[in-house]
Amino acid sequence: MIVFDKPKSLADVSMHYCPGCTHGIVHRLVAEVIDELGIEGITVGVAPVGCSVMAYNYFNCDMVEAAHGRAPAVATGLKRANPDSIVFTYQGDGDLASIGTAETVHSAARNENITIIFINNAIYGMTGGQMAPTSLPGQVTQTSPYGRDTSHCGFPVKVCEMLSQLDGPEYLERVAVNSVKNVRNAKKAIRKAFENQIAGKGFSLVEVISSCPTNWGMTPQKALEWIDEKMIPYYPLGVYKDRSANKEGGNG
């Protein structure tokens, strides 16, 4: 008999996420990996500012809530203070790719031995659906009501591609959680990102293409389809860097 249990590393509380939001899936994947690796007792997570600001209530390990965008710097402090701990950050696109760009780039450049779970849903969710650094060209948001005009506000930031140009990082992969197959791949990538840290290999970032049905103005089902139709063509899935496997730059 197969019993489908809640991971131990996930607190037994209801989450505040909207119906159809994929944060719940990613939280669960992270918790499953922590359980499977047996690292719950030595793991410290860092929550961002954004929709997942209250992640500290959902993970059962020690947690720190960081200032907006500063999670990689806080994680750097935590890891340097206690190198035997396993430190991960969980950040959205506004947090990681806009206000915290410097902290992201430089923690990658230092090959800081931390794990970053990066949720890219192309929008600011918590504040009600404003244009994100990762919003697609033409995407309608509260602050791009006529669609993202690239001649006015530029192009989306492709985090994995950008960081793959640095010598520092160990591992960069982009995954999605809009289908069973993609969720399974996402878990593999998240597991590898934690295993890398345990092995002392360094900076590992998994970008997770996620949905925001509420702020995209779509049903949950349509939002998952929109990931396939619009998001993945702009943000191709794959390994962007895996130094141990001698993979540098490029996707696939």
Binding site: N60, A66, A67, S85, H106
Partner: protein
Amino acid sequence: MTDKVLMKGNEALAEAAIMAGCRHYFGYPITPQTEVAAYLAKRMPKIGGTFLQAESEIAAINMVYGVAAAGLRVLTSSSSPGIALKSEGLSYLAGADLPAVIINVQRGGPGLGGIQPSQSDYFQATKAGGHGDFRMIVLAPNSVQEMADLTVKAFDLADQYRMTAMILADGTMGQMMEPVSLNYGEPKKIEKPWAVTGTKCLRKHNVVNSLFLVPDELEQFNFARYERYKQIEENEVMYEEYMMDDAEICIVAFGIAARVSKNAISEARKQGIKVGMIRPITLWPFPKAPMLKAADKVKEFICVEMSMGQMIEDVELAVRCKKPVTLCNRVGGMIPSPEQVLASIVEASKKGE
């Protein structure tokens, strides 16, 4: 006194931090605090510590936040514009009740200002370290010895009260060399059961956080924090009284301005003017009581400071405007001369004659 060594203020401070058990330093280059970073860059790797040059002041203070959350003693240093960048982090440290020590080797402002000594970050340090209701303990050294001693004190106070403590120095204090004696014994150990060191699966998970969306709850945290601040105001005020027994004029000055004022006081005393000084060592908590007491005896207070008049507001409040408080100042990186301070003393002595 064979144990005395000749050191720069910035270096004595850095060595004292190590003696206080600090093994983690994060900073970003800025004049005139560079020696703190340079010294620790050499020392930390040799004693198993961490020196890390951050990508920005903002990153540095958030690295500090991480180490503090893990329960270890941690230091950052900067100079005025850099401290402004750290103010976000200072507020978060306060909101999460995390201890840390911050050094501000002040330079002239506003804006990029200059690189010469200044005391114009008094407001920033004592009133406006960042957004929200919070305080920092602010210590103002006036010698290389105090740069070191107050740094050790800052670590102890920060841990004891779970808050940030700032050393408010200036370029002169940082750069000048004096003989100092560094003997502090074993660093104080304060239990930190709230630290995020991993649950070891033996306890409920710890959360270091400054977000409280329920107003009642946030109010209670603020009340509790200010109860702690009240204890600090009762127990931790430090100041030096100099020639105040018979003084009719009272100078109030801190840091290098107090050193200059001492020279002026000696000269004035030679001329028969009864002048003394109250030198605040803690700028917060501010030594209000001795000033109020002095207000009954002296006819005038002279606030000597290297700003357009910032501490003077606290002096006026402390003496409840019972006596006039005048300002003797230089700004922009200029230091008042003993002659300028003497002239202010002579002028005050002639009033009412």
